[in-house]
């Protein structure tokens, strides 16, 4: 997950403010300016609930973040978190087989879920008046999930189709998978979250049930509710529905076993990985290991990734795409930070006829130079301005705010960490970004490409 970030350091592009420096009040920092009205409740069984009222429309969004994902799986049960995510929609003791979607959609709501390396997130957007029902559903599937054997096997086929859609029939999926498999080989981040095909075919209902019992527990759950709700009543309902569900005695131990050392990239020298796939032009990714989410240097690398590969004025686009004889049809850079490790990557698609190896060498050669020429005060200011606009867009809906808070509570164990993040971004300097840039591009990298001409 790339953390959502922002900064209000807009003095450099302000044209509307006519106040002079002498009369202007002391400018607030962004951390001072963004104050979210969050009520936090911690239940005795370890569950965290965050509630933000917003009565502008008669709707609300409910997000449940379970701290379990690909990182918690071991060979033999890869894909268990995602498979379980599918099974969570199959019914509960109280609500019966395949009834959850009907209850939610029948009242005008929508629901879905996603699984990442670090967490599994369930969400619903519903009209007001449905809060009691949806809390009942979420509590019941946590306490009494119906893992029916027939449904389990039917869903196995669906998951296998999803895997084919995302990877076997998608060169871009193959590229991303090959990159993480190489960069994080022999670590829990080194496989597809959706799971390896042999495991998906062999995993049993009982294995998934054991997995469920260990990780699906109130002491591994953050609930976030944003929208047209009465905070006090909502809090009472959450306590009533979830308060009686027992904590998992082993989940903390499971998390403790996952030390950061186990997730660090083992790449010790530059690697080039050629994958044969149905892409007539080469598509590529160049990746470097970086830091886990929240690491101070990560903020500088976020800024660097935007300078190099985000927006039409960014470096790589102007170096390789927006030129007289383009080398690439698209090129981008991103910094992805997971709970235990991170990676910086540059990707894109080459124009037909461009020599892949020449491009790879040229790109690698130029990267260190960019640390000096492209990391400037003006570029950093530009990126900070863009982050602000992106933040506004991200917080515009109940769902956006719920996700923002839930991510921070799950990853940092404190939703207020956004204030720290804002301060860290505000403090990012040219020197910080240059230092992070040089350090990163000196590390061993993985260059992966997918092309139909590879053997």
């Amino acid at each position: 997950m790339k953390t959502l970030i922002l900064l209000l350091l807009l003095a450099g592009c302000s044209t509307g403010d006519k106040r002079t420096a002498a009369t202007a009040p002391k400018p607030k920092t962004l951390a001072d300016s963004i104050n979210l009205d969050v009520t936090e409740a911690k239940l005795p069984n370890g569950m965290t609930a965050l509630i933000v009222p917003n009565n502008k429309l008669p709707i609300f969004s409910l997000y449940l973040f379970y701290k379990v994902g690909g990182k918690n799986e071991v060979p033999g049960i890869t894909g268990a978190s995602h498979f379980l995510e599918h099974m969570m929609f199959k019914g509960t003791k109280k609500f019966g087989k395949n009834s959850l979607d009907f209850i939610i959609e029948g009242s005008g709501g929508s629901t879905n879920a996603y699984t990442t390396n670090d967490q599994t997130v369930y969400y619903e957007n519903l009209p007001s008046g449905q809060l009691g029902t949806i809390l009942d559903i979420e509590a019941d599937r946590l306490a009494n999930l119906n893992l029916d054997e027939d449904e389990f096997n039917k869903e196995r086929a669906v998951v296998l189709e999803e895997r084919k859609m995302r990877y076997e029939n998608s060169p871009r999926g193959q590229l991303y998978l090959a990159m993480v498999q190489s960069l994080f080989k022999d670590t829990p981040y080194g496989s597809a979250v959706i799971g390896e095909i042999p495991d998906l075919k062999s995993v049993t209902r009982d294995q998934i049930h054991q997995y469920f019992k260990r990780f699906y527990a109130p002491n591994n759950l953050t609930l976030v509710l944003v929208g047209d709700v009465d905070t006090a009543k909502a809090q009472a309902m959450v306590k009533q529905k979830f308060g009686g569900i027992p904590a998992s005695p082993t989940v903390d131990e499971a998390h403790a076993e996952l030390t950061e050392e186990k997730f660090q990239s083992r790449v010790r020298a530059d690697q080039v990985v050629n994958k044969k796939g149905e892409s007539p032009s080469p598509i590529f990714m160049l990746a470097y290991p970086t830091y886990k989410v929240g690491h101070a240097k990560g903020y500088a690398l976020d800024v660097l990734s935007s300078i190099l590969g985000s927006g039409k004025s960014s470096t790589l686009i102007n170096e390789y795409a927006l030129i007289k004889k383009p080398v690439a049809t698209s090129v981008y850079a991103a910094h992805q930070q997971l709970e235990k490790a991170g990676f910086f990557f540059i990707g894109g698609e080459l124009v037909r006829g461009v020599k892949l190896e020449d491009f790879r060498r040229d790109l690698k050669k130029k990267l260190a130079g960019y640390c000096e020429t492209e990391v400037t005060d003006k570029n950093i200011q530009k990126i900070k301005n863009n982050y602000l606009v992106d933040l506004y867009a991200g917080l515009d809906t109940n769902a956006g705010l719920a996700q923002f808070l839930g991510d921070r509570q799950t990853l940092f164990e404190d939703w207020r960490f956004y204030k720290t993040e804002l301060e860290l971004y505000e403090k990012v300097t040219v020197e910080d970004v240059r230092a992070a840039c040089h350090e990163t591009f000196k590390k061993p990298s993985v260059f992966v490409s997918v092309w139909n001409k590879h053997k």
Binding site: L10, K56, P127, A321, K382, T397
Partner: protein, 450 residues
């Protein structure tokens, strides 16, 4: 606090809300420019969507309008592409465009305090865009290469081919995005001329943001100096008669999954006054996890990961379709099930529970269309374009509530008559054998549709 000024209406119930709902939409006239504004001061930013009553139908070659907008910031007499990009990126201003056959939209999103410089620059480009040859050649080269590589996304490739097949014989057959053939014919002069036409075309500004957005009026008047000539609707529309075959587009490699597209083109007479009925039909068939097709294909049989239905309506025509995929072994079965669902719904084999469930789905979900002001404005834009009264939007829940199973069956019979469906399967050519049990199979080359 004016954030979504119209929002409180929901608190008193939709039935009593009508007058307030419409009051939240301000229709203004800034000189010759029509403006639709919803005040929204949740954040100090604005979105200005400039609607041009002209789109790809006016293109002498496929993709010209799209290229004109794609290359909008490629350079003026004073500034290079890079300088323009630096300018907009520095302000955090986001420019996006959409081109359809019937209309085009350029949307600009930025911070309210930057209205003057950002919109001033947009106007400057409208007056002075040069579409430099070097930038245009680079764009053409990238576009060609990208299109040749479209096979990396089977879903996107299937969408493109299906669009072409189902619209064959109509004036909408030329792809909005352009083609390998048309890219080579673009010149700077053609793009400049196209922009000059758009400068004169009738425009409507759909605007959201705080009261400060009114500053934009002076900028547009002084710097853009647009005129607003209404453009004529295109000529008579043909009604294509699709071949009774399954088109099978073979893709290279060992594709083990088949993309399936089923649907057809709808004429003006077929869509006129039917928007809400067809939206209900789409929701019923493929508008969520509980829709008929997802239940039949995924939940009961595990044949696919997703299935969706749509009836998209423009002012003068519409398109209806089903989008899904399945493993090779079950692609034919999936198509047969879709056919059976069409026929059952058309015959009225729908339980009261199924019917009422989807009524509840649409009515209950109505408020979500207003959560983001830009989404609300997008709805108004579509209503305006199609000449629909906003009262219809206000009355939507009541309209859905009044529908009966017979309305649904009738809509299904009108939209999805099986013998008039265009069917495309994109995947491995070995599928031909199983598919031929449904209809004769016609092999096509995907390259012919690029």
């Amino acid at each position: 606090m004016k954030y979504l000024a119209m929002s409180f209406l929901f608190l008193v119930g939709l039935a009593q809300a009508k007058p307030t709902f419409l009051d939240s939409v301000q229709r203004l006239k800034w000189d010759d420019l029509e403006v639709v504004w919803i005040e929204d001061d949740k954040f100090p930013r604005f979105t200005a969507s400039i609607f041009f009553q002209d789109g790809a139908l006016s293109d002498p070659m496929a993709g010209l309008t799209q290229a004109t907008f794609d290359q909008f910031t490629a350079g003026t007499s004073k500034e290079t592409q890079r300088q323009l990009a630096e300018f907009f990126d520095f302000y955090g201003a986001n420019l996006k465009h959409t081109v359809t056959h019937e209309y085009s939209v350029l949307s600009i999103q930025a911070l309210t305090k930057d209205i003057k410089p950002v919109m001033g620059k947009v106007c400057e480009i409208f007056k002075d865009a040069k579409f430099p040859e070097d930038e245009l050649n680079s764009y053409v080269s990238r576009s060609r290469s990208h299109l040749k590589n479209l096979v990396t996304s089977h879903s996107a490739l299937a969408d493109r081919i299906f669009r072409s097949l189902s619209l064959e014989g109509t004036i909408y057959a030329k792809p909005v995005e352009g083609s390998l053939e048309s890219f080579g014919r673009f010149t700077s002069k053609l793009l400049k001329d196209r922009l000059a036409q758009l400068n004169k075309t009738k425009k409507i500004l759909y605007l959201s943001g705080p009261a400060g957005v009114k500053e934009m009026r002076d900028v547009l008047r002084k710097d853009c100096q647009w005129s607003h000539e209404a453009r004529a609707t295109a000529g008579p529309l043909k009604k294509p008669e699709p071949e009774s075959v399954i088109y099978l587009a073979d893709v290279p490699g060992d594709a083990n999954q088949a993309q399936i597209r089923i649907g057809r083109y709808l004429t003006y007479d077929e869509i006129k006054g039917k928007s809400d009925q067809f939206q209900f039909l789409s929701t019923f068939l493929g508008g969520g996890f509980t829709s008929k097709l997802v239940q039949e294909l995924r939940v009961k049989r595990g044949l696919t990961y997703s299935a969706g239905a749509y009836v998209s309506m423009q002012r003068d025509y519409g398109r209806a379709g089903i989008i899904t995929f399945s493993k090779n072994e079950t692609a034919a079965e999936a198509i047969s099930i879709i056919r059976d669902v069409f026929q059952e719904v058309g015959a009225g084999v729908v339980t009261p529970q199924e019917f009422e469930h989807q009524q509840g789905h649409l009515i209950g979900g109505y408020a979500f269309g207003f959560e983001e002001t830009t989404a609300f404005l997008g709805q108004i834009m579509q209503y305006d374009h199609q000449g629909r009264d906003l009262e219809e939007l206000v009355n939507f829940p009541q309209t859905i509530k009044k529908m009966t199973p017979a309305t649904l069956s009738q809509a299904d019979l009108e939209v999805y008559p099986w013998d008039r469906m265009t069917i495309l399967v994109l995947g491995d050519k070995s599928l031909a054998k199983s598919l031929s049990r449904i209809r004769p199979v016609k092999l096509i080359r995907y390259e012919d549709y690029l």
